[in-house]
């Protein structure tokens, strides 16, 4: 299955220029998606403990199962205002 990846701020800059979709085994969870991204972009390791993952716009835990077509967002610590 395939999920679309969106990222922001410093994480977006690490992923910049890369395809924004990720092929994953059917039934993969959010944590597996993150691991796949880390393999592709080792610079992400430093952000592992600080990012949150959103599935279709809602924050989820790493064991959340994904579905084909999901939007997976990588959210570093926020800085609005």
């Amino acid at each position: 299955m395939n999920v679309r990846v969106v990222a922001f701020a410093n994480v977006r800059e690490i992923l910049e220029g890369s395809p924004r979709s990720l092929d994953l085994p059917l039934g993969a969870c959010a944590g597996e998606a993150w691991n796949a991204l880390e393999t592709l972009f080792p610079a992400l390791c430093a952000h592992r403990s600080s990012v949150r993952i959103a599935r279709n716009g809602r924050i989820v835990s790493l064991d959340e199962s994904l579905r084909d077509g999901d939007e997976l967002a990588i959210l570093p610590p926020v800085g609005g205002g």
């Binding site: 969106v6 922001f8 701020a9 959210l75 926020v78 800085g79 609005g80 205002g81």
Partner: protein, 140 residues
């Protein structure tokens, strides 16, 4: 009751977008404007800020924050508007307005909204310095 505004705009916020919040039943309106400062917290001279947002979830967060403010502080109307893109020093990055019958609820709701926005809304800020470099700054 539907002149509340939750919005993300490209470029500086025009604070006049908050004007329609006023009504004849609300005696107190408290507004917060967050303005791009010329100096960072660590003392560097700032040329400007660049904001980005995860827009649809950020707007939902604004509405959730407004709902929570109503639960906590009673009948109060809120507008929340945040800028994305490049902002110069002096530009308004965020504007929050709270209108209530009495001023206490308006102050409390406005402060709650900006505190929670900074804590929770999926928005990010990069400081650009006059010396040439730039840095992502979180609120943590």
């Amino acid at each position: 009751m539907d002149r509340e505004l939750f919005s993300i705009v490209r470029g500086p916020v025009d604070p006049r977008c908050l004007d329609p919040l006023a009504s004849d039943a609300q005696g107190g309106i408290v507004t917060f404007l967050g303005v791009v400062r010329n100096c960072s917290d660590d003392g560097l001279t700032v040329a400007g800020l660049t904001y980005e947002a995860y827009e649809a979830p950020a707007l939902r967060e604004f509405e959730t924050i407004a709902d929570e403010a109503r639960e906590r502080f009673g009948e109060v109307r809120l507008s929340i508007v945040h800028a994305v893109g490049e902002l110069d020093v002096g530009a308004v990055a965020v504007a929050v307005a709270a209108a209530a019958e009495h001023r206490s609820a308006a102050f409390d709701a406005c402060r709650y909204a900006i505190d929670e926005l900074k804590r929770r809304a999926p928005i990010w800020k990069k400081e650009r310095y006059t010396r040439g470099d730039s840095r992502w700054k979180s609120n943590e």
